[in-house]
């Protein structure tokens, strides 16, 4: 009772003098403040530690201790014997080429791999704030052309038709092209929604609300079954391209709403000043309003990109071979049928890597924009 005043410094009855500056003393103080501050907190901590320990032990047992890492060619008997007790990671080295690149000709799979790396480099370059210049548009055009060349072929590379594309490059193509074309569309629609002209405004409102009101799946069904009905005889557009068009329309509507939020945040004075110096409508928006509006909404834009990247997986339902579809197809093989959990974890890790990088990036931008 006498040591009430120095209680925070000597929280525990042992190690009184030496622990004052040592690491373990600080750790104990930290534990006491953050895990065992009160009785309910202590109960919660103990319960969580118990559950966590149990979960980690069983996960380690399943994922490492009892796991089988390789089996001699397709002899999955050993794997099936330990089903539920241990993971069969042997499925990954067996199937990863198919999961990543689908039915792309096996000896040519260096090409989609290179295309994937090009995509990643492109994202990396675009994420640098100091490189946000007009030349970036040229970099994008060059990169997308290069990816097209790699995937289709040309300049010495044999031609590969889109039907044989699959896996990660298809996911990246759907997401990137969807955003690259959806973004300008979104800008135009967002401007149209704020236009003074009633007819243009109502067309934009109708478009945005219709697309946002229905599930993406119904848009994809439309692209896969209804689209051919609306085309004249003889025009036959490839399935991947139809899905891509649906994605552009979808992305356009969602991005338009985000950009509209940014437009609303630009003060009126900016419009008036631009009008006062006699800029035309497009000059005013292109040079004054949009740069400010988009800067305001970069974090929500990145969040929309993440959502969009995840949504590309829905093409599974109309049978396009993206990363998730190849994963699901890989385990149709009877020998490997019962190891879907392992495959889904593998694919999940890839999706997670992309989305996590984007969400970290968005949080950093938010932190940068915060204080101002």
């Amino acid at each position: 009772m006498t040591s009430v005043t120095d209680a925070p410094e000597n929280p525990l009855p042992f190690g009184r003098s030496r622990s004052r500056r040592s690491g373990s003393g600080r750790a104990i103080r930290w534990l006491r403040a953050n895990l065992f501050a009160s009785i309910p907190s202590t109960v919660i901590s103990l319960l969580l530690i118990f559950l966590l320990a149990k979960a980690i032990v069983s996960l380690v047992q399943w994922g490492f201790w009892n796991a089988i890492w390789s089996v001699p060619d397709n002899q999955t008997g050993a794997c099936r014997a330990i089903r539920g007790l241990g993971a069969c990671w042997a499925v990954i080295p067996e199937k990863y080429r198919f999961i990543l690149f689908g039915t792309y000709p096996f000896d040519q799979q260096r090409r989609p791999a290179l295309a994937t790396l090009t995509f990643i480099a492109l994202f990396f370059v675009s994420s640098r704030r100091s490189w946000w210049r007009k030349e970036l548009v040229l970099v994008w055009v060059a990169a997308l052309v290069a990816i097209g060349l790699l995937m289709w072929g040309g300049i010495g590379l044999p031609y590969v038709s889109q039907d044989r594309w699959g896996g990660l490059p298809v996911t990246l193509i759907l997401a990137t092209f969807g955003l690259a074309f959806g973004f300008p569309l979104g800008i135009v629609v967002a401007l149209g929604r704020r236009s003074k002209l009633p007819a243009i405004r109502s067309i934009c409102v109708l478009y945005v609300e219709l697309i946002r009101g229905v599930p993406l799946i119904s848009l994809l069904f439309m692209a896969s079954v209804m689209f051919p009905l609306f085309m004249p005889d003889g025009v036959n557009i490839d399935k991947l391209l139809r899905a891509q068009i649906a994605f552009v329309l979808f992305a356009g509507a969602y991005l338009a709403e985000v950009i509209r939020g940014g437009l609303q945040a630009v003060p009126r004075g900016q419009h008036e000043a631009a009008d006062a110096i006699g800029l035309s409508y497009w000059q005013k928006n292109g040079l004054i309003i949009l740069p400010q509006a988009i800067r305001h909404v970069i974090p929500p834009l990145v969040n929309t990109f993440i959502a969009f990247f995840k949504d590309t997986s829905l093409v599974l339902i109309i049978g396009i071979f993206d990363l998730l579809t190849t994963a699901k197809t890989a385990i149709i093989d009877p020998a490997w049928q019962s190891f879907s959990v392992e495959v889904y974890l593998f694919v999940g890790l890839i999706y997670f890597a992309f989305c996590f990088a984007m969400s970290r990036y968005s949080r950093r931008l938010e932190a940068l924009a915060g204080p101002t």
């Binding site: 501050a37 599930p215 119904s218 069904f221 609306f230 995840k310 999706y351 997670f352």
Partner: protein, 394 residues
Amino acid sequence: MTTSTPEPRRKRLRFSLSHERLKGLFWQIVVVGIAIAVVAWLWSNAVHNLSVRRISTGFAFLGREAGMPIADAWLDYSPKNTYLRAFLVGVVNTLRVAVIGIVLATVLGTMIGIARLSSNWLLSRLAAVYVEVLRDLPLLLQLLFWYVLMQGLPAARAAWMPIDGVYLSNRGLVLPSIPIEEGNLWVVGIAAIGLIALYALRRRLVARQLLDGRPRRLWPYALGLVAGLPALASWGLGVSWTIAMPELRGFNFVGGLTLSPEYFALLVALVTYTSAFIAEIVRSGIQAVHRGQWDAAMALGLRRSFVLQHIVMPQALRVIIPPMTSQFLNLTKNSSLAVAVGYQDIVSIANTTLNQTGQAIEAIALIMMVFLTISLGISLFMNWYNARIALVER
């Protein structure tokens, strides 16, 4: 001279004004013209293609026999029923996932959002990991994952029984249930009336407390109206509320309420995925409440849970409700992923119809109509609620 100078200037001014208007009119006519031309072109192609394929347009097919089996229907349904009936079953199945999913996701998401702000380091870290992992994986992947896990569960004979009467097996989740007959519905109706009466009474009591400042007890009325009245009614009408426990007979369960593996996987995937987003909304909503509110309430000697419930949450709700509405809409739209695991919601049934009859335009129009109606309903309700909790400015 002096009177003639303003004349041409005014004219020019009027001309330039009408010029601006003319320009606007011109662009509107151009855009609308292009839109109409595109729609007309698509329409004429569609009419031509449909006549070539001999598909008759219109909703007459709804009256024909559907011939499609629906495994998990809440309404009476057999494949001999019409397409219209099948669509109705689909709508009910969609609503069943969406409504229950929204309620569970809100509860779970709020709990995790509050856990993220906990002073307990371990709890807040675990909540953060939960949010980060679930938000960064595609929902469809999570759904397939849960479904595979469901299929990997033991057979009905070796079902897991976490609580007495609750069985989890590859046949789905089986819960004890109360068989509902007409009498039960009457009693439920009476309980609902009691609840409304209680709400009205509470308003009156609060109004009177505002007049003289004396608090009044509500719980005796609550007990009487919500528990006593229905109990009395059950006794009077001779309604029984026995709980039917599921029993294993042969290879399957008899009695109780069975949630099919497809439904259960879809529900779990939607609830966990959406709860991660709701947790973030709740967290940022609570953080948006000014620190001074916490400090002032703590200075009055109120308990933390009381402060959270009565001081912080009502203010946070104003920030929380608008983004929450869009999460509810997302959950409803995402319920259409059901088609990937074979749960027959409206999208899945419309898709089967489309493959059977070729009525692509009608089927997709029906999907859109259903979702636009549900979205509108949720939006209207949430806007009403938002207006109710909004700050009343003097």
